[in-house]
Symmetry: C2
Subunit: 416 residues, 2 copies
Amino acid sequence: MSALKGNVMFGQSGGPSAVINSSAAGVFTEALKSDAMKNVYGAQHGIVGILHEDFIDIRKESPDEIARLRGTPASILGSCRYKLEDADKNPADYERLLEVFKKYDIRYFFYNGGNDSMDTCDKVSKYLQRAGYECRVVGVPKTIDNDLAVTDHTPGYGSAAKFVATTAMEVYLDSRVYDRGMVIVLEVMGRHAGWLTAATALASAKGFGPELIYLPEMPFHVDQMLNDVERLYTRSQNVMIAVSEGVRTPDGKIIPESIGTVEVDAFGHKQMGGTASVLAGRIGQELGCKVRGIELSLLQRSASHIASGIDIDEAFLAGQEAVRAALAGKTDVMVGFERPASGPYKTGIRLIPLEQVANLEKMVPRAWINEAGNHVLNPFIEYALPLIQGEPQQDKEDSLPRFARFKKIQAGNRDI
Amino acid sequence: MSALKGNVMFGQSGGPSAVINSSAAGVFTEALKSDAMKNVYGAQHGIVGILHEDFIDIRKESPDEIARLRGTPASILGSCRYKLEDADKNPADYERLLEVFKKYDIRYFFYNGGNDSMDTCDKVSKYLQRAGYECRVVGVPKTIDNDLAVTDHTPGYGSAAKFVATTAMEVYLDSRVYDRGMVIVLEVMGRHAGWLTAATALASAKGFGPELIYLPEMPFHVDQMLNDVERLYTRSQNVMIAVSEGVRTPDGKIIPESIGTVEVDAFGHKQMGGTASVLAGRIGQELGCKVRGIELSLLQRSASHIASGIDIDEAFLAGQEAVRAALAGKTDVMVGFERPASGPYKTGIRLIPLEQVANLEKMVPRAWINEAGNHVLNPFIEYALPLIQGEPQQDKEDSLPRFARFKKIQAGNRDI
């Protein structure tokens, strides 16, 4: 396979995670080693930065700071939620992208994100092919939601799951110190898929976690939940429930919608949050008990101080493998993960055609949820536990995180 | 000084912390070494356990599990918020305590808690003295609020401050990834004192923290806060504010009271929480910008996975020193901390008469708050930074915390 010579464009998209920057470090480290790849550009705010020629020169960043990306949450380059329409409907953005790619001789395009971003990646890739412009396009997966199709799991999930499980254990202990009852409602992110909420079962498996877990995979009946809580509360005066922000009543509404309206973003996604507070209010009203709603909010996706070591390594590897695949001539694929069918966990890499991933969502299998739909079963524990192993890799300064600091030297002809 | 022979009663009280159990480990470890101290009892749910002869035999617990208390949050023995009235108003509880102390030959009483608990401690001590019953009473300080009088600082604070500062840094980064504005309102615990909210300034000092910090030491003007936010938002489109749950409007109301009523506990303390959500709503309404309220809730007091190493050590030391002081004949005192007047931080111990601590609250000095009352100054950073140093000491199992597990073998004639 010929070593296509040209420049590299890398962008980050969608909601950030504790390890998306570790993937960036993987892409940068591997690309900077390659003779075929001359300039390595980092697009600011994803595709938006490309459209506006707003990108930085990664060669000007210090290797130490690039290495510190492994312990730096959020998106070092900034993210976006910009929706690319189909090329036949609105070709302007695609024409502009092609123009920029030609102008800067971009022959490698790596895009790091979730299912929406893989869709963007796929559309761009197909457009460039049709236009006869040679550019290798490889997606780097990322999402705390773990809902990307085909891949066994997704970087970002293990770290978020570790934070969620650890926090559930700590809050469980804390909520049981008094000589009176208490119900905790822990709200976990997950618009449609319950993977992250299910991670609270890792805490339950240790004896310090929720007795009830509600995933968006199952219709959510408020009355059934109240019955579940009352039954347990009557027995032990202490109940912890974990609930996904994405659970929906049988008429398709998320919980905050039951008391008002919610905002919708560019992808048509509803603005989440508020489920714990609404449910805690209902439980307090109906059961007359002390209750506390806790929303894990942005903490669950940014807690790099308790990231999973394996997740950091795999995120980095995903970036490296994307570069290696592109250099080997692959295009229009996403780097995915697989694990051995049996025996101990071991990281395996597979390349997945983008169109198999784009816009799809992988749900927690019904067989991993208990019959009552209010907890998860052991196959989930066996699946998730290997993904949270290992300590975070983070420089500290005064016992606080020492995040990567980028100079961000502009390399494009920025028009905004 | 004679070595008074007899048994030991230890109890935990008030809101738990990440390191209150480290103090328990200090008391247990030191007491179990002493020949003068025969049985060591742990009261379940503090003073309530004593009144009901509900306490466990600490000698029956394994030394390994006692050591694991250093990495176990919440209260291993359970806590209470039981209010002892004055002895002359309601002597029944005191008579009962004396009866139990006599029955079990309790000659050493250690009570671990905040200012309310030190008041309880003081009342019990004085009653026993008047009754001519020899018993050495020593308070072990604890509170994430850091509001105990006379002592330089209080175990529990450093760990909570470290969690708050680290989390503020992570959320700061996370909230600035998009190419559009965002205001974050971070709500931190602290009923009357702003020490913990001020800890977010440790994040600001690293360049990743709130631009605005509101403490309950200053009257809170909603309009002034809106002006502050608008001014910064206009400039940079991104603002993080940290606000204490205890800030009060000039008419003395906490923020959630401005939209409804709040519960009051046995000590007359208002039920906290909800400030971030109310203020975020107001900011969104007035400025029409994207805003997210985040309440750190129980996480900030239970996050032992990111406890301060110094705090764990000092909490343990406070327990040990309480036992040593009592063995040396001291009574009616609390173990306090001091630091050198100049030069690097070094842990110093001082014993403080309980009556100097009971029911008082130490506030953040006005001179450590900026003139506008919306941030804190460098003397605070110099004060707080040494208290968050050092890594947590926590056994892990499957990369999750391995909390202490007690057998809790009943040693009293439990009547509940």
